[in-house]
């Protein structure tokens, strides 16, 4: 563990010195593919935008992605990703491209770690002063296909974490919207679960005061942040309960799967802030992202 930190420190300092130093005339300073991947991973978990963007092909460090970089860093908690045991295969057709197979390790400061095989394609990049390797991202579309593959199936042989992160950095706008939508969906799912527990406690009656949604559900979810949708300032209560269901017995509700329970917005109007979609939690507990077209046929009355 200590070795990794030392290595990273030396690397970072080396990079700074290299970028400040005048380029030597004959031999260039080169950062190996392995060091490039490690610099990229540590930049991601520390929220360094420029460091992460520098190591990804097509990424633009100037794009306003500080917020997203911070969100990515926060999602790692105290865990830090790093990569080791590199095996490099040069592309026979293109000597500036290399396929790297390695082990990606997620470790925290108190000795816990989990590791899995991973791979990435890297492209050589020469600047005036030094040479380094950039991770080639996938397009967001390709990734979505790959992601659905996970589902509830067994974990795949390769983690895909490195390329996925590179894609987040290369396409921050699309990926952040998607990240916010998934996060918001997961918040609604948990709030829905809390609501169901509340209903059980009140003899199947939906005993909620709509303006006091947070006060009523909080004891069941025990998390303040669940009530604030991604993109809203902390403390905002972004979700509302469908007022038409308040006071009803849940057993009297027919076709609960199509009746709106909790939604993002106000006064029964959805907020389509995530790429034109808005997450809705239905009364059977399932959550779906709804388009404005689909919203017209939503059922609000029990």
């Amino acid at each position: 563990m200590k070795k990794i930190y030392l290595l990273l420190m030396v690397l970072t300092l080396g990079l700074i010195t290299a970028s400040n130093a005048q380029p030597p005339e004959s031999s260039q300073y080169e950062i190996s593919p392995a060091d490039s991947v490690n610099l990229f991973l540590s930049s991601c978990s520390s929220g360094s935008v420029s460091g992460a963007a520098q190591m990804v092909q097509g990424a633009d460090a100037k794009k306003p992605m500080e917020n997203f970089a911070k969100e990515i860093a926060a999602s790692f908690g105290n865990f830090t990703p790093s990569a080791l045991q590199f095996k490099l295969t040069l592309d026979p057709k293109d000597s500036t491209r290399v396929k790297a197979d390695f082990i990606v390790v997620l470790h925290d400061e108190i000795g816990h770690s989990v590791a899995q095989a991973d791979s990435a394609v890297l492209k050589k990049n020469d600047t005036q002063s030094y040479t380094y390797w950039m991770i080639v991202p996938e397009t967001p579309k390709e990734l979505n296909n790959g992601y659905s593959y996970y589902g509830d199936d067994l974990p795949p042989k390769k983690s895909g974490l490195t390329t996925r992160l590179a894609t987040e950095i290369a396409y921050p706008e699309q990926m952040q919207t998607q990240y916010h939508l998934s996060k918001s969906e997961s918040q609604l799912k948990q709030l829905g679960l809390g609501l169901m527990q509340l209903i059980q406690d009140y003899d199947q009656k939906i005993q909620v005061d709509p303006p006091q949604l947070k006060r009523d559900i909080f004891p069941y979810v025990k998390s303040e942040t669940l009530f604030t949708a991604p993109g809203d300032s902390p403390g905002t209560i972004s979700y509302q309960i469908n007022p038409n269901i308040v006071g009803l017995n849940i057993n009297s509700i027919k076709e609960a799967h199509s009746l709106v329970g909790l939604y993002l917005g106000k006064d029964q109007k959805l907020d389509f802030r995530y790429g034109g979609l808005s997450p809705v939690c239905f009364m059977d507990g399932h959550v779906k992202a709804i388009s404005p077209e689909e919203a017209k046929s939503l059922r609000w009355k029990p």
């Binding site: 990515i72 590791a115 067994l154 974490l161 998934s182």
Partner: protein, 315 residues
Amino acid sequence: MKKIYQVLLSSSLVFSVSTIAKAQPPEPTEPAIQLPPLHYSRTSEDTVQRFISESAMGNATYPNDYVEGVDNSNAALPQIGGIRKLDLGNFVLAARDITISPNPQSPDLVTANFTLEFSDDALGLKLAQKDSVELKRHLIPNNKQEGKNEYWSIVPGDPQKYFEDNSSPEKSGFTERLATLFAYSKEMLPKIHLQQSELQLKQLGLALMMFSQDYAEQLVFTQENYVEKLTPYLKNKTIFVAPGTNADATNFTINPNIAGLKLTQDLDYEDTVAFYLGKDQKLDFRYDGLSPVCFLDGHVEAISPEEAKNLEWQP
């Protein structure tokens, strides 16, 4: 979702059945066994699955049911639970693909092999590794029906070997380490806190170097404003707070003698104190009689009261 409800429903059913069972007087033929906190059957698969998911949520009330030899009344236990939750960020843990192999030597021991999965669904990140853990069976007399209820608990590892690297591609060791934290929470807490504070001090040392580079190799701050001046170089202000203390406190203090120092001078960087845990140049030996110190060259050491006498405070 439905499955969760089913599980909840069935477990609460079993629980109510077992509560009735508990109310019956024990049969005189049964040997006196002290009842563990759980009174219903639980398979070894279930034990692994629920231990991993519940402890990842920072729930310290439940993991103690899943690990061998946990002292429920131990005050360090909730703190260990809190540490776990903070560590994980948005990651959720799950055990998949669990297979149980019996131990030929003892019917009361089994090994569970499974895939440990870290996933952050919103960001689409997933990491999975094989892991294994040993479980021990407990038989509880079942007074209502014939036979006995059985439940399994995870056997923790050796706390002395906690920080030794035992990982391999076949075994993450994560689950056993987690169980060790719960089983030996009292011994482990100061060790964990020391480890955490050493890493925090390392980050402070790095921030100090970055700061000096930006200000022409000079530490242009005073004893009063160093927290403000260094914060832009840190992930957050909580780095100044030692683990296990109130979030508003500043426990990592700067050696006042280095404020304003020019780092190009020929100094004894290796031996001069930069940051320490304590106040007024007196170390706080709160972690099992040790106190972490960050020196001017950025390295961090855990210092005993004896070693503290020889610390260099003047650069």
